[in-house]
């Protein structure tokens, strides 16, 4: 990055030889964080107008590459080029922003500010001129209207739901007018309709010549929108190839370095209620939250996994949050293993033996600066020692055990959670839900941002917990998550509208989620076939 360099960065992986320079190139870059080597001599090259996928397991170094490509961090070795020219110095933020816009994996919405200000952060006005708030709101309203986002620009960003924040991030990134846009797991927090809208927009932008770097753990999305795919594994570049010439098994093999035939298969099985007839693990009766859902009743037996599916506004997530005590319902009861829970109280739900994986891991999931061991055992510290006292050693031991169980990739239990990759943070959140040996689990999109292989082991952990006598309510619209459920309930507009026994067909379930009883819409199908 020191001397201007005009040479075309010919990259072996680039297919076909697109005209002109690639919009963005990383040449043999390396990056370490202390002892962790996040990237070792990797490269990538994105041609103009190309949608380029970057895939790899959790901790492979994808987000680290993003921070190098957007000028948030300096590579230890190697160079970044835009249009064949050296990248601007790190201090020239405007220069970087005009070359590469980005939706980061970590939320960059500031809760205390309004939606409008978040959209135009640090560009509220030109130079030293005072801000015209009215003009800013108008600009924001125009931008929101352009992307069909139904949010009041004057509202405080703290009041937005996770998916609304995510579409804001996307709209903001696109609004810079850069010809190169990076999307780091943009779909992990979105539902089907939002994803379809996003892809529509991406295709239109691509037709106008904008290039994308697209990071996702949903391989079907890679096949849907991308032409080229690059795979990283353990901080190294493994392959770059046209998507069309690579089938899914080969792709997963490149990601994991293992033969696909060895993977665990999730046989769908029947739920057999235990003979002794204990109280159900979780009993939800006529639970209502005005304006969100009404009279929802679900019974989760001991050892049973019940899926709760629903699109964005269906209320499925809200049901999960209400059961966990994050929201206070207007009526109805929740019982965990026969014990009535005081609704609207997280501590009481925990005491009753409920484990919970929240939707928004940034805000509710982890304490970023504390060590993994402490985060993962946060709900179970009373079990680690007497009277609330516990030693660092027992904490580390318990933390390490859970980290192994959940396949968390980290230096050790003392590393702060903020230094983990996104998917590994999600595993920590999951570990926390399991740490207290819960009687019932409420999991909201538990595998968001988790790679294909870890997804299998994470879901395996849920099944193991169920086999050990815990009941689980699995709120998700991921078909792969739902596949481990003994039965799936579908919510639409605040009510449970359908129930599917295990063995359901993808098309029928998706139709029910979209509220189209029966109509087949294969274009919306997001089936990873695993």
């Amino acid at each position: 990055m020191t001397t201007p360099d005009r040479e075309a960065a010919g990259h072996p992986g680039r297919p076909g030889g697109a005209p002109g320079h690639p919009v963005a190139t990383a040449l043999d870059v390396s990056k370490s964080f202390g002892a962790t080597r996040a990237l070792i001599d990797v490269g990538i090259s994105v041609a103009p107008g190309e949608a380029h996928a970057l895939v790899g397991r959790n901790g492979a170094g994808k987000s680290t590459l993003v921070s190098l490509l957007t000028g948030l961090a300096r590579p230890d070795r190697g160079r970044i080029l835009f249009d064949g020219q050296a990248a601007p110095p790190l201090s020239d933020r405007a220069g970087w922003q005009s070359r590469a816009a980005c939706v980061y994996q970590k939320s960059t919405i500031i809760p205390g500010l309004s939606v409008a200000e978040n959209l135009f952060l640090n560009r509220q006005s030109e130079g030293l001129r005072p801000i015209s708030w009215k003009a800013l709101r108008t600009r924001a309203a125009d931008l929101l209207a352009e992307y069909d986002i139904d949010v009041d620009p004057a509202a405080s960003a703290a009041t937005l739901a996770v998916d609304q924040r995510q579409v804001l991030e996307i709209a903001r990134a696109l609004s810079f007018g850069a010809r190169f846009i990076i999307l780091d797991e943009p779909t992990a927090q979105l539902d089907g309709a939002n994803i379809a809208a996003l892809f529509d927009r991406l295709r239109r932008l691509q037709e106008s010549g904008v290039a994308f770097l697209f990071i996702s753990h949903h391989l079907s999305e890679v096949y849907e929108v991308c032409q080229t795919v690059t795979v990283y594994r353990d901080a190294r570049h493994i392959l770059t190839a046209p998507v069309s010439g690579l089938d899914k098994d080969a792709l997963i093999e490149a990601m994991t370095g293992e033969d696909r035939s060895a993977r665990a298969e999730f046989a769908v099985d029947r739920y057999l209620a235990p003979a002794s007839q204990p109280a159900p693990a979780l009993q939800i009766s006529s639970l209502s939250l005005p304006g969100t859902f009404q009279e929802v009743g679900v019974t989760v037996g001991v050892g049973e996994i019940v899926g709760l599916a629903g699109a964005g506004g269906s209320g499925a997530v809200a049901v999960g949050e209400t059961v966990a005590g994050l929201r206070r319902p207007s009526g109805g009861t929740v019982e965990v293993a026969g014990r009535r829970v005081r609704t609207g109280s997280v501590p009481d739900a925990l005491r009753a033996g409920l484990g919970f994986v929240p939707e928004d891991r940034h805000a509710q999931g982890v304490v970023p600066l504390r060590p993994i061991a402490e985060n993962i055992t946060l709900t179970a510290t009373d079990r680690l020692g007497r009277h609330g006292f516990f030693t660092g050693e027992s904490l580390r031991r318990a933390g390490s055990a859970l980290m192994r169980r959940l396949d968390v990739k980290a230096e050790g239990p003392d590393q702060p959670v903020s230094a983990l990759s996104g998917g590994n943070q999600q595993k920590v959140v999951m570990g926390r839900a399991l740490a207290g040996s819960p009687r019932a689990l409420v999991l909201i999109r538990p595998t968001a941002g988790v790679d294909v292989k870890s997804k299998e082991s994470l879901l395996g952990t849920v099944r193991q917990a169920a086999a050990d006598g815990c009941g689980a309510l699995l709120v998700s619209d991921e078909l792969d998550d739902l596949r481990i459920a003994h039965r799936v309930l579908v919510m639409f507009k605040g009510a449970v509208v359908a129930e599917f026994a295990s063995g359901w067909g993808d098309a029928a379930l998706i139709a029910a989620i979209e509220g189209l009883g029966g109509a087949d819409r294969p274009d919306q199908e997001r089936n990873d076939d695993e």
Partner: protein, 345 residues
């Protein structure tokens, strides 16, 4: 308007956030004025207590006594909104004037002998420079060396206080050049000059934080430094500047204080930092950064002063007043938690 929460206290907050999925936040302005009813109540109590309470003279005196505290609160509010804190302001208040006077006072002839360096008016820029230096050192330790801001500024608080005692030998300096005491001592158009200056500083601050990009950056930094950095805000540099501005303001407050009392001594600032934080938090500024307003902080100062005044008129004796003041401030914290409807953090 829920805060970013950990799970355990989220239960209290989510219900507030939840109906607002698409709702307006028209109540945001109300929060700025949430202390006004409390102030009205205090004035009513004072009015009942004594006929001398609701008089121009009393209010003028109260305003003037508020100036130093409000300048300090202005400084602390800026720093807190940016997500940092500075405890050492309390020592800067005394250190800056004492060092400045030490520099210019003649080497002999007074009870306190200085260095006799240059003209008397030089004490004013010297005082502000001392403030800037303290802020720069704090900024270096916190932002460049990544030390913990609480401990660093707590350490500075003690160190600087000790330095004052070293310089003035534990006695107070009573020879103050007239130029130095001018602002703390004179009236303009019937109002103390310090009140005018204070009003001007708050106007500038409110304008900068309300309508200027670089001022708004402070909210972004306090709210989510990573996001601010990604948006192109120079987080470290901005915070360094804010820490320096904060300490310069504290030095300025020290100058006003010295001018008003006609002397400078090590004990002048002692205990002030509690009032500073109390006023700032009562005024709705978040200790976690990113939230609050300077106007709110100003109402926090006025509320504290009203409380003190009402206590004095209620014939609370001088030896009890510290205790009562502390209790009432704690009560005020509790009350403002409910009137503003958000958690203090």
């Amino acid at each position: 308007m829920s805060e970013v929460t950990t799970m355990s206290d989220a239960a209290d907050l989510l219900p507030e956030a939840e109906p607002a999925r698409a709702a307006r936040s028209g109540t945001r302005w109300l929060r700025e004025f949430s202390l006004i009813p409390a102030m009205g109540l205090l004035i009513l109590i004072g009015f009942i207590e004594s006929p001398d309470f609701l008089t121009g003279d009393n209010f003028l005196a109260m305003l003037q006594q508020s100036t130093e505290l409000s300048v300090l609160v202005l400084a602390e509010a800026l720093i807190l909104i940016g997500g940092r804190m500075d405890l050492s302001l309390e020592s800067t208040v005394t250190l800056a004037p004492v060092l400045a006077l030490w520099l210019v006072l003649p080497t002999s002839g007074n009870r306190f002998n200085g260095l006799g360096f240059g003209a008397a008016w030089l004490a004013i820029p010297a005082c502000l420079l001392v403030g800037a230096a303290v802020g720069a050192i704090n900024g270096f330790l916190i932002l460049k060396m990544n030390l913990n801001g609480f401990v660093v500024t707590l350490g500075m608080l003690t160190t600087l206080h000790g330095l004052v005692v070293v310089v003035d030998g534990g006695q107070s300096i009573t020879t103050v050049p007239p130029s130095f005491s001018y602002l703390g001592h004179h009236d303009w158009l019937g109002l103390p000059a310090s009140v005018w200056v204070c009003g001007l500083l708050f106007t500038l601050g409110i304008a900068a934080l309300g309508w200027y990009r670089h001022g708004r950056a402070l909210y972004a930094i306090g709210g989510n430094p990573g996001a601010a950095r990604a948006a192109g805000i120079r987080v470290e540099r901005t915070m360094w500047i804010v820490l320096i501005i904060g300490s310069v303001l504290a030095a300025f407050a020290g100058m006003l204080y010295t001018g008003r009392l006609g002397s400078a001594s090590a004990s002048q600032g002692t205990g002030k930092i509690f009032e500073v934080f109390a006023a700032t938090v009562i005024g709705g500024v978040s200790m976690n950064g990113g939230r609050g307003s300077l106007f709110g902080a100003l109402t926090g100062v006025l509320t504290l002063r009203l409380i003190g005044n009402v206590l004095t008129f209620g014939h609370v004796s001088a030896q009890d007043i510290e205790f009562f003041n502390g209790v009432v401030i704690l009560v005020a914290l509790v009350v403002s938690r409910y009137t503003s409807g958000t958690a203090q953090d």
